[in-house]
Symmetry: C2
Subunit: 443 residues, 2 copies
């Protein structure tokens, strides 16, 4: 604060590296809201240089006011650059080189790069600590939602037991589109909706990072470290995407009073650190059930505050730029601290929890051959695995793919290892027409 | 940050003044989560003195470890007190005296006192600026939800057009209890539910501050100043509480696809600053419609981030303590700045908007005598006032109080002044059995 005051009207001079959608958004935001931001920051935030791979590309934005720099790493040595904003993306490569050089040179570094933070966040935070400068990444998780601040500061007084949420807008768009189609009596399958999402720009040409849950896992591992004060452990996240969710799952879930969401869930306790991204059945009375389209949402459960819920746009140039510039305002105000809410050396080393010991209800869906004895075979497997069945529905061929019969089961609460055991007992059975689907229920 | 580091393990020594529910919660929180907070703050937060009006009162908490001080104002001069936490309450009186003396003495001041901040926030922020110390009040708005931080920092890059939300847990508890009773086919009226809420401790013995909307108005005026960078103007809030919401309103709203919530709404623009607390009809697809019981929620609409939604516990010792201690952690980290996100002198003086010029849909409910011509009288008044009717329902005597007939109207979007004109035209009519009810629709 004293630093901020003494800055008077000296601008915070920033270099922006990477001029894709988000980079363009940051420039547009600083141009549009510049006067307001200067009032809030105590000083203007001024773009002094820009850099990207291809200077000739038409970005639909007038960049002539800004100095173009071909060698992005030269920016970290420039005396007239106070902070560097990295919007290139990618866990390694140029983004990581830039981050390392920037922090080593003692310059604040702001990024929207979730992959890089998930893989190299602790090393970069250590470098920022050594240099005594800011490493900020609000835009890396849940787009425009200020959830990094929400955990690092807003919920800082709490021991957080669980943090979970909807962390990938592409998956949520696909799942809620399938849901709406189902409600309209016109069920559509995953691959069909994905194609539409690609055509509309809601999904990438290569959508695997999103739909296989990797992007959500990057974000989840960052949230977990912040929430629990544990060392960031991306490798410890169990990941299941949404490729195998079929229209019949959406229908069965709805009939049972649930909606399907790709949930990133982390829990910490005596049993260790649990981190998983997976499609879950969310009851209608839970706020995550009402998070539609490409929205993101995060829930944090603290021992004093109870359940905090944050929702907003998880992607897009405007919301992401909002988060990037919020970080720049923190830097301009000189209001920042440890990247992971405490020094890296204070973060606890936590063992990975045994997911098999988790207690909960599950949804199992089988597509099976339409012949006598199949239901008995499944029922026997669940019985032998110690799974107690709450409800079981068999539907005719119309509901299942490949002309089979659909069997959907909801279990009573029990250990997850028993579900795995059920599937192991059925593995190789020629009654099954494809891989069974398991989704846990958020209770 | 450099300041924080140089503090090393030197504790932040705090005095707590006011030992009601929240004061007890703060002590319990610091005792329970102390080690974690020390890791996150970079140093321990230590209670060195406590004070309240009555030393002999049994508070159900062991206070023997802390030095009791009778003269609370003596705390601000003590060299061994680094920050003062005020949890007495009340806009004026001892709380205000303590705040003024504390800031004048150059000590950080943390409070949960919404009334005091709403009435004296700018003067106190000015005193904090002069002294170069923190004035923090996260707990004053929406309890445990970090919405002050959300606006001051998280959304800081945005021009905020509207900020609104559910800011009073007592009112929300009463309205959602009426709603659930209605859904269960057992409609209950306001006074009856209020009595139950009082018996359960969800409403005060004198509930007027809550149910008449004053408490929500305090909070709204604080949010508006933060969101818009305008001078705090509690006097500019138009306030209508929930006393006149009857079971039939809940039923009609539900039939039309709405839920009734007490909404604090502020909007800023060329037309001036609009601030109002009033029961509104909220469509089911809006997140505020799903905020139940004593929860609070805040929506901020930014020109880049879009719609941000924050939800959590709006009251109670745990959540409020969580917000108070989050502020203390900011002080311990030396991460704080201007109380209203910019220097007081930078806040804009904004004129009050003419609410009559606002465009929107409205719900009007009349309880009228059961005789010919009454419906025609109301219809004529709306026509002459230029109000266009979207739907009109007349229900028999069972729905209305006092043996009358209930008439409920939903208008097309139009200027609010026309609604007022309608009521003026009907004023004094002996067809009306009581005051008409007007609620605007959140669109």
């Amino acid at each position: 604060m004293t630093d901020q005051r003494s800055n008077g009207l000296k601008p915070l001079r920033v270099a922006i590296v990477g001029l894709g959608t988000v980079g363009g958004g940051v420039i547009r935001l600083l141009e549009t809201n510049g006067a307001l931001i200067a009032r809030r920051s105590g000083r203007p935030i001024q773009i002094v240089a820009i850099s990207a791979r291809d200077r000739t590309k038409d970005r639909g934005i007038d960049l002539s006011a800004y100095e173009w720099v071909d060698d992005m790493t030269s920016l970290v040595q420039r005396a007239d650059v106070d902070a560097v904003v990295e919007l290139i993306g990618g866990a390694d490569g140029p983004a990581l080189t830039l981050a390392r050089q920037c922090l080593a040179a003692g310059k604040p570094f702001v990024t929207a790069n979730k992959a890089m933070i998930a893989h190299h966040g602790l090393a970069l935070a250590g470098a920022a600590e050594t240099a005594g400068v800011a490493l900020k990444y609000e835009a890396a998780v849940a787009g425009g939602i200020p959830v990094i601040k929400g955990l690092r500061e807003g919920a800082a007084a709490n021991e957080i037991g669980r943090v979970y949420g909807i962390l990938n807008g592409t998956c949520n768009y696909i799942l809620t589109t399938m849901e709406k189609a189902q409600e309209a009596g016109n069920p559509r399958d995953f691959t069909e909706v994905l194609k539409d999402a690609q055509a509309l720009g809601y999904a990438e040409a290569d959508p695997s990072f999103d739909i296989d849950g990797v992007d959500a896992a990057h974000k989840l591992s960052i949230l977990a470290s912040l929430a629990f004060g544990t060392r960031l452990d991306f490798g410890g996240v169990d990941i299941t995407g949404i490729r195998h969710v079929i229209a019949a799952d959406i229908a069965e879930a709805a009939a049972l009073g649930f909606r399907i969401r790709l949930v990133g869930m982390a829990q910490n306790g005596a049993e260790g650190l649990f981190q998983r991204v997976h499609p879950m059945l969310v009851p209608l009375n839970h706020p995550l059930a009402h998070v539609d389209g490409s929205l993101n949402a995060v829930v944090a459960e603290g021992n004093f505050v109870g359940r905090l819920f944050f929702q907003g746009a998880g992607a897009g140039d405007g919301p992401t730029a909002s988060a990037v510039v919020a970080d720049l305002i923190d830097v301009a105000r000189d209001e920042y601290g440890d990247a992971f809410a405490m020094p890296v050396a204070s973060l606890a080393d936590q063992t990975k929890a045994d997911a098999g010991a988790r207690i909960g209800r599950s949804y199992l869906r089988f597509q099976v051959a339409d012949r006598p004895g199949v239901l008995a075979e499944i029922a026997a497997a669940t019985r032998d695995a110690g799974v107690s069945i709450e409800s079981m529905i068999q539907r005719g061929t119309a509901a299942a793919n490949d002309g089979g019969v659909l069997v959907a089961i909801v279990t009573h609460a029990g250990q997850e290892r028993c579900i795995a055991d059920t599937l192991a007992r059925l593995a190789g059975s020629d009654s099954l027409l494809d891989q069974p689907m398991v989704m846990h229920i958020l209770d």
